[in-house]
Amino acid sequence: MTSVAPVTAATREAYPKALIQLAEEGVDVVAIDADLSVSTMGYQFGEKYPDRWMTVGVAEANMVGIGAGLAATGKTAFIASFAAFLPGRCFDQLRTSVAQPKGGMNVKCVASHGGITVGEDGMSAQAIEDLALATALIPFDVVVPADFESARQAIVAVGKTSKPAYVRTGRPKVPGLYTTGYRFELGKATQLRAGSDVTLIACGILVSIALQAAEQLAADGVSARVLDMATIKPIDREAVIAAARDTGAIVTAEEHQTVGGLGSAVARVLVETIPVPVSMVGVDRYGTSGKWDELLGYFELTPQRLAQAAKDAIARKR
């Protein structure tokens, strides 16, 4: 099979594609939407497999319970909404009915419109807590893909496990990073650039920003490794430890608050193993309306800020 060049697309566009692939491969999937299927793109799966798709109206808590019921019979349940409402509107249902049963129920959350790049809808729609909530659910795998192809493969990958997962996708169209020759592996970081002075560990839309930051750093004579840490949980401990050992300084970057997301997960590995200086870049205040790319600037999720954070971390090396 020839590999197809990276495509510019929103990561949420991968959701129906992955569901269709799973169904075609014989996975007994049922997907549920909560009156946002036009935005999560779940409706496209519904058009192809009407018997495997349902919409429950604006009722996220009900959706989780229905997913748990489906999973209890052996189905692979997918549930979808905006990251603001899933897990936000139904955390207790996720905790008691999906996470707590032994090993976790086979319910996969695919939450679109993550982070501040939701844009104009403003503060209430901009999820910057969802990763903290999802990672706090013990059996959950938590994935934040950086582009369409990795999102497609990640959703297929979680669809083939028998445990719960949370996959966050985004609203805006973003440049592709991976060809179809790429192989996503749950729990494994992907090194996108080699470097020896510092490692930039990013997820989601911040991965391509980290690559730009690495270019800027190179111009200043700083050699930065870049890791796409798509899986936040279970975190790739080996990749984090190797980054600390080889480069001695770390920057984490995420479209989420630095509490409870990627930064916290990386720092936790480091304090238990090789404590090196870390600079965390994220969004630690509530949002506002604006175009998504303007908001990246407003919240300083920029190559400049990441490059500066790298220099700060390097300066703290002992």
Partner: protein, 283 residues
């Protein structure tokens, strides 16, 4: 203490205001190239009759503790809400130009205290009636007679919290302090409610112990009358179920789920403004 009263305008005057509100709505969504025109246009008559003839408010003194409260539970209808507040004098209509842009206080969904008159935050559906219970309880404790009005969408009625609050209002005896309004336009985000999730507003509210007042939500005189009836003491809390058309006043938006959350093009804006000015089909 100010004793603001409702303005009490004639039906013709209210209709003129409604035209201005509709024009603001389509213009704001066009300017931002995002936002929710459909559920804003369906609510216009309800909002205009309420804000001018029923709410006891004082735009000069938006924090007046005795004021009636309005909560936009269907928080995406901000083009409607912000233009009501501006036309009623809470802030300049010029502020509407910044809707949904970086630096504007007028975010896509209401953010409490970000501009005068915005009583509480919204954007996550299903919560407004609960706010009303809290504020009405406080009013009773403090010996104030203000009323809380809550506007909900019909799709919003899917949310369980609506019904937790609906059963609590009569339970707490708050029926004379809270009025619910349902914008029954038959559409939600993904399409017609009858296919997405069927609701039966009349039977459901009745079953939860409410007195249901139905009206044609685009007949200004009928709306004004329904709101008056809702103010009248009754053994039960009152809900106005207003039968409306999503996108009302703009032919290509009417009954079109595609315009739940989509902006018109420049050409469509021109047509929309023309139709609104002519007032085709509006009573």
């Amino acid at each position: 203490m100010p004793t603001a009263t409702a303005a009490r305008l004639s039906v013709d005057e209210l209709r003129d205001i409604a035209k201005r509100i509709r024009s603001h709505i389509v213009q704001m969504v066009f300017n931002a190239q995002s936002g929710h025109p459909g559920g804003s246009l369906s609510a216009v008559e309800l909002g205009v009759a309420l804000f001018w003839n029923h709410l006891r408010i004082d735009p000069e003194n938006p924090q007046w503790p005795g004021r009636d409260r309005f909560f936009l539970s269907k928080g995406h209808a901000t083009p409607f809400y912000y233009s009501l507040l501006a036309e009623r004098g809470f802030f300049s209509t010029g502020l509407l130009d910044g809707f949904r842009t970086l630096g504007s206080p007028l975010q896509g969904h209401p953010s409490m205290n970000s501009a005068p008159g915005i009583e509480m935050s919204g954007g996550s559906l299903g919560q407004g009636l609960s706010f009303a219970i809290g504020q009405a309880t406080a009013g009773r404790m403090d010996g104030r007679d203000y009323r809380c009005w809550v506007m909900m969408g019909d799709g919003e009625l899917n949310e369980g919290q609506v019904w937790e609050a609906a059963m609590a209002v009569p339970h707490f005896g708050l029926g004379d302090r809270i009025v619910a309004i349902v914008d029954r336009n038959g559409l939600q985000n993904d399409g017609f409610g009858d296919t997405i999730m069927k609701v039966h507003p009349k039977e459901m509210w009745h079953g939860f112990g409410w007195h249901v007042i139905e009206c044609d939500g685009h007949d200004m005189a009928a709306v004004d009358q329904a709101l008056t009836e809702a103010e009248r003491p009754h053994g039960k809390p009152r809900v106005v179920v207003a039968h409306t058309i999503k996108g009302k006043g703009v032919s290509f938006m009417e009954n079109n789920a595609g315009f739940h959350g989509k902006a018109p093009t420049a050409e469509q804006l021109k047509q929309a403004l023309d139709e609104i000015t002519r007032g085709d089909g509006l009573l």
